[in-house]
């Protein structure tokens, strides 16, 4: 909306100089108006939003930590799995606080370096949340487009599936399903299975379960949008011109769905980070030896008095990451929603 006003202002000043100026060389002075797509307008709004820019930089900061985790750990000179038992007292409590060797100190009991585990811990959080967001967005958009555009029995069946998925108690399933998957892929849960293998199955089953329950809400949203869009003239025109259905869906309809999709992505990302950390904290998400903030928080709650840094580093990290992403999501929604007035 703002650019429109600016352009109007520009043309008005242009006109007044034309009227008052002494014989302009070109009477029809062209005002440079560039058509901006709604997405471009939204991004321009976002760039002006100080909260959004700050939050985006916090997010980028954590992404960089995740990407350069090995480098950062090397910089410190430690790794995630070495046990520094010599630095523990007989009760298993660390005898050192944060030092030049161990920037965030070491874990009680095992004595692993906390800084290395912190930087590596950013990885599963972002990986799980990122891949679940991509998967659910893709499936949600495709199913929503299909259901909304096809109508008839396709729509009825897909809508029923959407309603079905939405009416399942998703946390309970998120707990129950990995137990079954684990038994299928690794053998019985109590057997002496290889912890690395277990950790890997848990990683993929978490992504699978979260994706299975995540797509439906977006699909319902997209379906609703498509239902109203498909009656519009440009779709009818494309159909009359003989544009194939696939092209109508992805070339005509999809560009009109950018706003709801972007908003849903920006809301989904932080929520999956919370869910991943939360389930891991409950012991039903990722497990050792995967370095993950949820695992650390869960272990550190027993040492919150003796070793506050152990608890507070992952707590602050996850809070900052989620908070900044959520606030960014809010800003994105405001920027993309044409009804927001500023």
């Amino acid at each position: 909306m703002e650019p429109l006003i600016e352009e109007a202002g520009l043309s008005r000043t242009g006109a007044s100089t034309d009227a008052m100026g002494p014989a302009p060389a070109t009477p029809q002075k062209k005002v440079s108006t560039r058509g901006k797509s709604p997405t471009a307008i939204a991004f321009a709004r976002l760039r002006k939003d100080r909260v959004a820019v700050t939050c985006a930089s916090v997010f980028v900061f954590f992404v960089l930590i995740a990407i350069f985790a090995p480098l950062l750990a090397k910089l410190e000179g430690q790794d995630i799995s070495t046990l520094h038992q010599d630095l523990l007292d007989p009760y298993g409590l660390p005898t050192i606080a944060a030092t030049g060797d161990h920037w965030f100190g070491i874990e009680p009991k095992l004595g692993r370096d906390l800084f290395a585990r912190f930087v590596y811990g950013a990885r599963p959080s972002l990986l799980v949340a990122g891949s679940v967001t991509i998967l659910t967005t893709f499936v949600g958009v495709v199913i929503g487009l299909l259901a909304g555009f096809a109508g008839g029995w396709t729509d009825r069946i897909l809508s029923w599936i959407i309603d079905f998925v939405l009416s399942l108690p998703y946390l309970l399933f998120a707990i129950a399903v990995p137990a079954v998957l684990l038994a299928i892929f690794v053998g019985n849960a109590d057997g002496g299975a290889d912890p690395n293998e277990v950790a890997q199955v848990r990683f993929y089953s978490l992504i699978l379960v979260l994706s299975f329950f995540g797509w439906a809400a977006l699909a319902r949203l997209i379906r609703g949008e498509v239902l109203s869009l498909r009656e519009r003239e440009f779709v009818a025109a494309a159909k009359v011109l003989g544009v194939p259905t696939r092209k109508v869906l992805f070339k005509e309809l999809l560009p009109n769905l950018v706003a709801p999709i972007v908003i849903s992505v920006s809301m989904a990302l932080p929520s999956y980070i919370v869910v991943e950390a939360g389930l891991t904290f409950l012991g039903v998400g990722l497990v050792e030896p995967t370095p993950s903030w949820g695992v650390t928080i869960s272990a550190a709650q027993n040492y919150y008095k003796q070793d506050p840094l152990y608890l507070w580093v992952p707590v602050l990290a996850i809070t900052m990451l989620v908070l900044s992403l959520s606030l960014l999501g809010d800003a994105v929604r405001d920027a993309f929603d044409p009804r927001t007035r500023r």
Binding site: D163, P169, I184, D190, S326
Partner: protein, 325 residues
């Protein structure tokens, strides 16, 4: 109207049936061996075969699910190692590890979850509606902006971290634990108060936002202007006329939310150590106790479906503008 309710009912029942069959397939027909889990590490093949027979694990899939479904209406008997155990009518199986019928375990857990969720609802509805209504009246002032900012931050704060910090650092709250209300109402309340406050405050943020938005819209309506111009006092207009209109959407959200919380109070139950539905399912996960897992999932689904049904039907009564199609 009747047709609409009937259609919603059919759809709800179909969801429950599919959930039942799907989770049964997932838990019992998957290539897993529950018998091995019950039998434990020091297991003789003889005993294993005995357990398998007792659980009907060698029967065809359809017979197994038939037995399970029949158990919902008729008493079942379980025979493990020569001991016969009764499982009275709505039978969802026998816990492998606790040696109790699943129905009994669920019946013990449900009051805990209900007390937790309903008590917290009182807290967040009271705080949320009050703060939201106040903020709507002073819209645009620094106070309103402070309220909106606080709710925004609180709303996006990871809940389990919040709850954990409350448990670890808010030690002035009475220690949490479960006592039945009928046994001792006072210790029932004092054991739950910490969890109520925690869940209540976390959710109050969302309800403040809903009520504020809803109230702002209601106060902009013609009937509010008319009421004011008739000379009715501002407070009366806000609390009698405005609030009534503003609460309908909030009530709808509350209905849907409540269903979600009944199955989603896991974090609160775990962190505050309350033996509710979520904790039961979590324990079952740790011990690979399939009947309990399945029972928990099933009860959760039914609760969710029934609540959604109630909300949908209630909404058509609450808001005459809703057209049934």
């Amino acid at each position: 109207m009747l047709l609409y309710i009937l259609r919603r009912l059919v759809s709800a029942v179909s969801v429950v049936i599919v959930t039942l069959v799907a989770s049964f397939a997932l838990f019992f027909l998957a290539p897993t061996d529950p018998a091995g889990v019950i039998c434990g590490p020091r297991c003789t093949p003889e005993r294993l075969a005995n357990i398998r027979a007792g659980l009907h694990l060698d029967d065809p899939a359809l017979v197994q699910i038939g037995v399970y479904l029949k158990g919902l209406v008729v008493d079942r008997e379980f025979e493990t190692g020569g001991v016969v155990r009764e499982c009275p009518a709505p039978c969802l199986g026998y816990s492998y590890t606790l040696g109790e019928p699943v129905t009994k375990l669920l019946a013990q857990a449900l009051p805990v979850t209900l007390s937790l969720v309903l008590g917290a609802a009182v807290v967040y509805l009271a705080i949320g509606i009050f703060t939201g209504t106040m903020a709507a009246q002073v819209r645009g002032t620094p106070l309103d902006k402070a309220v909106v900012g606080t709710t925004l931050v609180l709303n996006s704060f990871p809940y389990f971290v919040f709850a954990l910090l409350v448990v670890l650092y808010a030690t002035f709250l009475p220690e949490s634990g479960w006592t039945s209300f009928f046994e001792n109402p006072f210790s029932w309340a004092s054991g739950l108060v910490a969890a109520w406050v925690c869940l209540g405050i976390a959710n109050a943020a969302a309800y403040t936002r809903y009520s504020r938005a809803s109230m702002i819209e209601a106060l902009g309506q013609d009937f509010v202007r008319t009421a004011r111009s008739k000379g009715i006092s501002k407070n009366r207009v806000v609390y009698r006329h405005g609030l009534r209109a503003a609460l309908t959407p909030v009530a709808t959200i509350f209905g849907i939310d409540l269903a979600g919380q009944l199955t989603g109070a896991i974090f609160t139950e775990r962190i505050f150590d309350l033996p509710g539905l979520g904790n039961l399912v979590l324990r079952a996960f740790g011990q690979y106790d399939l009947p309990v897992l399945m029972g928990g999932v099933l009860v959760g689904s039914v609760v969710l479906v029934v609540m959604n049904l109630i909300v949908d039907i209630a909404y058509t009564f609450l808001d005459p503008r809703v057209r049934l199609g």
